[in-house]
Symmetry: C2
Subunit: 186 residues, 2 copies
């Protein structure tokens, strides 16, 4: 049963607070309405489209990356708390997929996760030592990969970072990165 418009807009706002990377397509599916309806809802509520929301998030809540230039991070960093956590978003475009089947090549997901794992570490020199990764399901052209990194262990010279990448709340990639960081920075 469809919700009345007022109720739908209220829920839509709550959804987006909880999951800011929801696409219009996914919201349309959840509410059983057209994408156009969701777009109108967003306009009435003054909520920018996903790309705009990502940009907004990237402008606040962002520690300065120390180990890399920000443009060396693969994907757009939208949240960064050094030595704690970070989030980045990578949209899968033509250059990321296999010509044959439009599935994203694994090394791009790896690059997003690995560079985010390095970016969250609060040191000048950070190098990846080991990684254990799992490609949970194929990612396709046009999908938006949201990688979430969490520092799970710190010793004087090493940091362990767990990264989980989701597409619309479905896990597509998991990785545990063990990185060295230079002594003088801790």
């Amino acid at each position: 049963m469809r919700l009345p418009k007022k109720e739908r807009q209220k829920q839509l706002q709550l959804f987006l607070e909880a999951e800011p990377f929801l696409t219009d397509e996914e919201m349309a599916r959840r509410f059983g309405v057209s994408i156009q309806t969701i777009r109108l809802d967003r306009m009435e509520l003054g909520i920018p489209e996903l790309r705009g929301r990502i940009k907004q998030m990237a402008q606040k809540n962002l520690d300065r990356v120390r180990s890399l230039s920000l443009e060396e991070v693969i994907g757009q960093v939208v949240e960064l708390n050094l030595d704690h956590s970070g989030i980045s978003v990578l949209e899968i475009r033509e250059e990321h997929v296999f010509a044959r089947n439009q599935i994203a090549r694994g090394h791009h997901l790896f690059a997003q996760a690995n560079s985010l794992a390095v970016a969250v570490v609060d040191a000048e020199l950070v190098l990846t030592a080991t990684a254990s990764i799992r490609f949970v399901r194929p990612v396709r052209l046009g999908e938006k990969c949201v990688a979430k990194a969490l520092v799970t262990r710190q010793t004087p010279h090493r940091t362990q970072v767990d990264v989980q990448t989701v597409v619309e709340n479905e896990t597509v990639f998991q990785g545990v990165f063990d990185v060295y960081r230079s002594k003088e920075d801790k």
Copy 2:
């Protein structure tokens, strides 16, 4: 003690048969002579420089890659025995390194190894499931990474491929890739 020229050229040929990816620099070091001397030796012996040797190898001894387009493999494939083994070479250029320290970014080494692991599998559809990798030592601008892949286990739908990447016989990267392949191709 330096070897006489004749003896050096004989050994140089033997070295290159055993290790075709030796650079002139490394040979010069081994023989305690200048790089120019090695170049002259090669010219006298009619042995092309490394780049030429790689091209020669790429033209023979190469099964047809089934799972990818050959140009989708990162690095140049110089040997390929489907469902058995493969070798590729990646030269680290400006676009592969961190601006700050000229060290190769990990995801390029990962991409070389992962795409080679996929290329050696004799099936139309091959997707990486998991990988365990280790960056053994940093790789720098200008170094030539030789990745060697070996199929170590086969079950009806999965193949395990071990990849070891060396720079002048020093291991820089190790990875174990577990890949799915499509049923109909086995």
